[in-house]
Structures are given as structure tokens and as C-alpha cells.
């Protein structure tokens, strides 16, 4: 039958079960929107107020649902506004399909109105992208786009379509199965049994092993396997930032997060381990600290779906390129029931001596305490979305994640402004869950225009602004490493309550601990979006901390200023 390019694209979305997309129209993609007019019963289009929000929302949707997130933007400024969100999805391996409009074919390369070399701009920050020069290619390209985005090491892809290609009518029957000679993600899925045996042997020879669980546990849905493996082998589990919520934090083998703001005892455990079993993580510099001094005593077993990650940053003893789920299963079968209780006890003792997550008793509204109250008021059942900086770290540290895949954050790119639009995407993916966007006063102001979106669609998310009137992490670094020469760290903020009200939303402010408890309870009861201006202490720092360029062994718990303040 005859179909236009735009119709083929929308048929593809429907075929892939996409029911919510986030986008912003413009001249070059108007034909796509015109076609969307007739698909409104099947595809819900959420009009964001800036394309960056569309990319973030699609990212959040993808992470929370396990499906592909879809965002739409027009040519030129539409595409360039998507860039930050797509770069973030690329860094964090999030499956997103970005549909972008392009100037008509006859204007390509002429510096036409709203023309950008969109595939050129996106090339280094997508897993793959296409400029589709005729509608006949669209069935193949769309099929490949979803396939590439959501297989192997996942990632964002872009389909750039000139305006007249959306309108071009071609004969269309069906979507062909993907046939890409250079891309065979399935071949790496099952682990090599020889390597699994080798890994088991190394595990049997270890006295002080640590499991480092990363983002891959979520993508591979390997939660049961991780739990069973840790229990059978009796090995402590420490997570990366993206590994948070992959292993129940109330479990006796859980020791929280590693890295720049990891728990002291977790960092020490990694530093002194004789074996790291690294599952779906990539030894990011925020995880390892100074690389030369990272886990110098440890042998390393590294399992990852991406062969290029094996040996990229650290030298591996056993590298397994495979899907985590079957690999951990195979490991469970291969290992004996083990007992590492002396090692576990040792880490517990460090934890008793250096309880990194203890919160000081004080009347000051400490941000850590606020996060803990959100945990209590939601019975630990909230899904937490953060962007980057102090609020991100406190949310990772002080909310205890027992439920799977309930923490989402801009980890690799560290994009401010992620937490709010991403939370919108998360809510669309998980409408029945309590979604809390925990965000700094700086980050919130990067993408707050989407308040209009949550109002329009009554998207029930709670936006908890951890408001210290500062770019807190900037202030922290200027304090510690730039002799307290504060520049561009203090924020002259708007009245966030009035701002919420201007958008027709409920805004609640708290400036004391009592008020914090009151407004959190109130917000939790309101069946709709709420903006919470939680005014917290201005100078509180995130600890523990591995100063930039230091090793995990050099993790510091606090500083003299801090000590003096509470003395």
C-alpha cells in the first residue's frame, strides 16, 4: 500500500509499542506532526517546553520502562537543543530514538533556514545515526534504529529526515528484519564457559572478594542472579552510582556506593580487596580515583557486554564479554557455597568505626536529613530522579534503595537540569509509582520550563528542591581546593513557591525541620505535581570524599571547618 514517510515512521513507533513520545514541532518536522494528528489514539505526544526536556524525558522513560524512549525535534535549533540530552543518553547507554526534521533535500548543504548538519552534530554522541534521503529507506532505517538502540550496549540513535521525505509516498508492506553485517549483538550474549570456569577458580582462591555492581545489572535484569550469587559466594556487594538500586541496600552484604562520594568503608573495601568481580560497570574515574593506586592488591574479573570496556581503564585478569544474566547464572553454577565472614566482619567493623552515612543531631536543616525524611515519608517506596552535584550525591547516599531500578541520575555526562524532565519520563513509564525529582536550586532552574508540562498533563511528580541558595558542589570545591575564593557559586533565586503558583501548581516552602516534615507529608498526600522549596543549610558539604587526583585509600570523612562548626 502507499504510505508517506511520516506514516511509515509512526507505524514503526506503533509496531514497537511506543505509546508516549516527547517532542517539539518546527517547520521541518511539521509533516510528521500532521501525520501524528491521525495517530493520537495510539501515540500520546507530550509537548515539552524546550527540546532538551524531550531528550531527558525520553531518557528517563527508557531507563524506567526498559523500552526505547522517543523524542522529536525539528531541524537546526531543535536538534542542537537535543544535544545535551542525547549526549547524556550516550554516556549512560540509554536506548533513545531521536526523530529529527531536516530541511528539504534540495536545500541540504545550502545553509537553508534552520539548517544544521544534524547528523554531523549528533555523530559523536549517538550509537548510530542516519540521514534518510528517500522514504523507501525508512522501513529499514526505523527497524535498524530500534534494534541498534536497544541491543548490545544500548544507546541513543538519531533518524534525521528531510521535510519532503516525510511527505514522499512510497509503496510499503512491512518492516524488514534488521540485516546489518557489522552489527551482531547477540553473538556476545552467552559467556564463554572456559572463562566462567577461570573466573570461578579465581573466586575460589580469593579471601577478600568484592562484587562491584554497575548499570548493567539493571539493563540485563540480573537482580535475582546478583542476589543469589552474592549470597552463595558470601561476597560483599558495592555499587557504582548507576548500580544503586541493583542490590537491596538493607541486605547484610550491601555496603553501598563506591567512588568519589562512596562510603568510606566501601572505598576501603575496594582498596584492600584481593578480588574485584566487576559486573556491568566501566571503571569511570569517579569510581576509581587515581587509577595507578586503584585496588592495587586485587585481581579483576570484569563482565561487560561491550568488548571495548574490557581492559580500557584497568588491566583485567578474566574478561568476559557477555550478557550479565546468563553469566552470573553460570558463575553461580560453577562456584561452591563460600564463606567470607572474616572479610565481611572486617568491613562491618570499618563501618562501625566510620559510619559514613550518620547524620548529625542538630536543629540546622541538613540536606542529608531532608533526603532521609523523604525516604521515611514515602516508606522507602519512592522512585528517585536526580541530576548532578550535591543533591545527587545526598540522594544516592541517604535514601536507601531496596527496590529494584528506582534510582535514576545523569551519571556519565553529569547534566544539570536532568532530574526534572527525566522524572516526567519516569512517571509516564511507571504511572503507579511515587516519583520524586530530587534536584538542586541550580539544576532546577536549567529546565524548569517543563512545569507547564506537569501542569497541563497533571503529571504526579514531587519536585523536591534541595535549596542551599548555591551551586553547592561548586561552593564545596571552591572551599576545598580554591581557598574559599567563591565566584559564581551563590545563586540569587526566584521565589520557587510563587513560581510554582504562576504555573498553576502547588508550591510549598520549608525553612525548619518541623516545616520540612509538614510539607513532605502534605506533598505526599496531594495527588498531583508539587514543587517543594526545601531550604537547607548553605555550607554543608558532601562527605565522604575522594579529592580529585587522590586514591580511594585517601577518602576523607570531613574537614576542620566542619568539625569546628559542630564542636
Amino acid at each position: 500500500m502507499k504510505r508517506t514517510g511520516a506514516e511509515i515512521i509512526l507505524d514503526s513507533l506503533v509496531a514497537h509499542g511506543v505509546h508516549t513520545v516527547f517532542g517539539y514541532p518546527g517547520g521541518a518536522c511539521l509533516p510528521l506532526y500532521d501525520a501524528l494528528y491521525h495517530y493520537q489514539d495510539r501515540i500520546n505526544h507530550i509537548l515539552v517546553r524546550h527540546e532538551q526536556g524531550a531528550a531527558f524525558a525520553a531518557d528517563g522513560y527508557a531507563r524506567a520502562s526498559g523500552d526505547v524512549g522517543v523524542c522529536i525535534a525539528t531541524s537546526g535549533p531543535g536538534v542542537t537543543n537535543l544535544v545535551t540530552g542525547i549526549a547524556g543518553a550516550h554516556m549512560d547507554s540509554v536506548p533513545v530514538v531521536a526523530l529529527t526534521g531536516q530541511v528539504p533535500r534540495n536545500l541540504l548543504g545550502t545553509d537553508g533556514f534552520q539548517e544544521t548538519d544534524a547528523t554531523g552534530v549528533m555523530l559523536p554522541i549517538t550509537k548510530h545515526n542516519w540521514l534518510v534521503m528517500n522514504a523507501e529507506e525508512l522501513p529499514r532505517v526505523m527497524e535498524e534504529a530500534f534494534y541498534i538502540a536497544n541491543t548490545g550496549r544500548k544507546g541513543p540513535v538519531q533518524v534525521d529526515v528531510p521535510k519532503d521525505v516525510y511527505l514522499e509516498e512510497v509503496e510499503f508492506d512491512d518492516f524488514p528484519p534488521p540485516n546489518i553485517p557489522g552489527y551482531n549483538p547477540d553473538e556476545g550474549m552467552q559467556p564463554d564457559p572456559t572463562l566462567v570456569r577461570a573466573a570461578a577458580e579465581v573466586i575460589h582462591g580469593s579471601e577478600k572478594p568484592i562484587i562491584l555492581a554497575g548499570h548493567g545489572i539493571h539493563y540485563s535484569n540480573a537482580y535475582d542472579e546478583l542476589l543469589a550469587f552474592a549470597e552463595k559466594a558470601n561476597i560483599p556487594v558495592i555499587t557504582t552510582l548507576h548500580g544503586v538500586s541493583s542490590f537491596p541496600e538493607s541486605h547484610e552484604l550491601s555496603f553501598g556506593m563506591v567512588g568519589m562520594h562512596g562510603n568510606l568503608y566501601a572505598n576501603w573495601a575496594v582498596d584492600r580487596a584481593d578480588l574485584l568481580i566487576s559486573l556491568g560497570m566501566r571503571f569511570d574515574d569517579r569510581v576509581t580515583g587515581r587509577l595507578e593506586d586503584f585496588a592495587t592488591e586485587a585481581r579483576i574479573i570484569h563482565v561487560d557486554i561491550d568488548p571495548a570496556e574490557i581492559g580500557k581503564n584497568v588491566t583485567t585478569d578474566v574478561g568476559i564479554v557477555a550478557d550479565l544474566k546468563p553469566t552470573i547464572r553460570a558463575l553461580i553454577d560453577e562456584i561452591d557455597q563460600l564463606d567470607h565472614s572474616p572479610w565481611v566482619k572486617q568491613i562491618c567493623q570499618w563501618r562501625e568505626e566510620h559510619p559514613s552515612l550518620a547524620i548529625r543531631e542538630t536543629d540546622i536543616v541538613l540536606p542529608q536529613w531532608v533526603i532521609r525524611q523523604i525516604y521515611h515519608i514515602t516508606n522507602g517506596e519512592a522512585v528517585v530522579v536526580t541530576d548532578v552535584g550535591q543533591a545527587q550525591m545526598w540522594a544516592a547516599q541517604h535514601f536507601w534503595y531496596d527496590r529494584r531500578n528506582t534510582f535514576f541520575s545523569s551519571g556519565g555526562l553529569g547534566a544539570m537540569g536532568y532530574a526534572f524532565p527525566a522524572a516526567i519520563g519516569v512517571k509516564y513509564a511507571r504511572p503507579n509509582e511515587q516519583v520524586w525529582s530530587i534536584i538542586g536550586d541550580g539544576g532546577f532552574q536549567m529546565t524548569l520550563q517543563d512545569l507547564a508540562v506537569v501542569k497541563e498533563h497533571n503529571v504526579d511528580i514531587k519536585i523536591a528542591i534541595i535549596n542551599n541558595n548555591h551551586l553547592g558542589m561548586i561552593r564545596q570545591w571552591q572551599t576545598l581546593f580554591y581557598d574559599s575564593r567563591f565566584i559564581s557559586a551563590r545563586l540569587e533565586n526566584p521565589d520557587f513557591v510563587k513560581l510554582a503558583e504562576a504555573y498553576g501548581l502547588t508550591g510549598l516552602r520549608a525553612t525548619s525541620k518541623k516545616e520540612v516534615l509538614k510539607v513532605l507529608k502534605e506533598a505526599a498526600k496531594i495527588p498531583g505535581p508539587v514543587v517543594l522549596d526545601l531550604v537547607v543549610d548553605e555550607v554543608e558539604k558532601v562527605y565522604p570524599m575522594v579529592p580529585a587526583g587522590s586514591s580511594l585509600a585517601e577518602t576523607i570523612e570531613g574537614d576542620e571547618v566542619e568539625e569546628a562548626r559542630y564542636a
Binding site: 547528523t119 555523530l123 548510530h128 557489522g182
Partner: protein, 173 residues
């Protein structure tokens, strides 16, 4: 050290851009890159020479392999292989020097491909060493222009393993 990498890639517009972008992004040192059609329709073969140590060369190979349009990648440095480069050199050749230059060309089995008043163009093929050495020998006569293709390489003996899937379609528009 030098690593010689052979990559078979889909013959699509933009492939070269992706590879160049990868090298730029990860700051790999590229010495030469030669590309042309391979024996398979729709597949081009690239020979890439990088100046990187062994660990980096492994990363280069893996990162190249991750590109969707790269069908296969092999680092042939440690394998028995032949490599050839071609160069065209335009040399200042006043009549009195011409015989001398031609004699040198003969030693290197370089071909004369153009003779003009005052200059000649020589074509030489060989491995990198041979061409380097020829260029140095001929330099005192005055090289007016030099154009080198970069190395192309091939493993000796058996055919390189090829993926089972082959592009059904020809090059895209």
C-alpha cells in the same frame, strides 16, 4: 610502535567521517589511512596505520569494531602480511640533471609518468621504508610536489575470515 589495521566497512556516505571522528575523539595518532573498494560489492577496505602502543592499538581495534558500519577489523601487525604504498613525486629536472635522476629512479624501480620542461613525475611503489628512502635520496634534486597514498596491506596466505552476513544491498544513495 606502528600498528597496521585492516577494516572492512560498508560503503555508505559518512563512514569515513565516523572513523575520523573516532580517531579525533579518542586522540589516537593516525599515520595514514587508505580506502577503496574491496572484492565484495558494497564493502570498502581501509588500511589504517596508527602510531600507538599495543594496549592502545587493541582499544583502537575494539572501538572501530563498535562502529555499526564497520563489518570487520583486524590488527595485522603481528601477522605475516604485505604492505605497499604508492607515491607520486614531481621533481625539478633540468636537462643536465635528468639522466642522473632517471638512473636513481631505475635503482628504485620508479616509473616515469610525466616529463615536462624542467620537471618530471616519478611513480614509486613499495613498503613505507622504500618510499622514505627514495624520498630522501631524491630530495637534494628538489621535490616540487609529493603525494603519497598511505599504506595498503594484506595478510599472506589464507583469506581473512569474513562475516557470514553480507550486505544484500549495494551502496546507499
Amino acid at each position: 610502535m606502528r600498528h597496521v589495521i585492516i577494516a572492512d566497512v560498508e560503503d555508505h556516505p559518512g563512514v569515513l567521517n565516523r572513523i575520523a571522528s573516532l580517531f579525533r575523539k579518542r586522540a589516537y595518532n593516525i599515520e595514514s589511512l587508505a580506502v577503496g573498494h574491496s572484492h565484495r560489492p558494497g564493502i570498502s577496505r581501509m588500511t589504517i596505520v596508527v602510531a600507538e602502543d599495543h594496549k592502545e592499538a587493541i582499544q583502537v581495534t575494539k572501538q572501530l569494531d563498535k562502529l555499526i558500519e564497520v563489518v570487520s577489523v583486524t590488527d595485522v601487525t603481528e601477522q605475516r602480511h604485505v604492505s605497499r604504498e604508492m607515491a607520486l613525486a614531481k621533481i625539478a629536472a633540468p636537462e643536465m640533471k635528468r639522466t642522473e635522476i632517471l638512473q636513481l629512479a631505475n635503482v628504485y624501480r620508479a616509473q616515469v609518468v610525466d616529463v615536462s620542461p624542467g620537471s618530471i613525475i616519478l611513480e614509486i611503489t613499495g613498503d613505507e621504508d622504500k618510499i622514505d628512502s627514495f624520498v630522501e635520496i631524491i630530495r637534494p634534486y628538489g621535490i616540487l610536489e609529493l603525494s603519497r597514498t598511505g599504506e595498503v596491506a594484506m595478510v599472506r596466505g589464507r583469506a581473512m575470515p569474513t562475516p557470514t552476513m553480507v550486505a544484500e544491498e549495494g551502496p546507499a544513495a
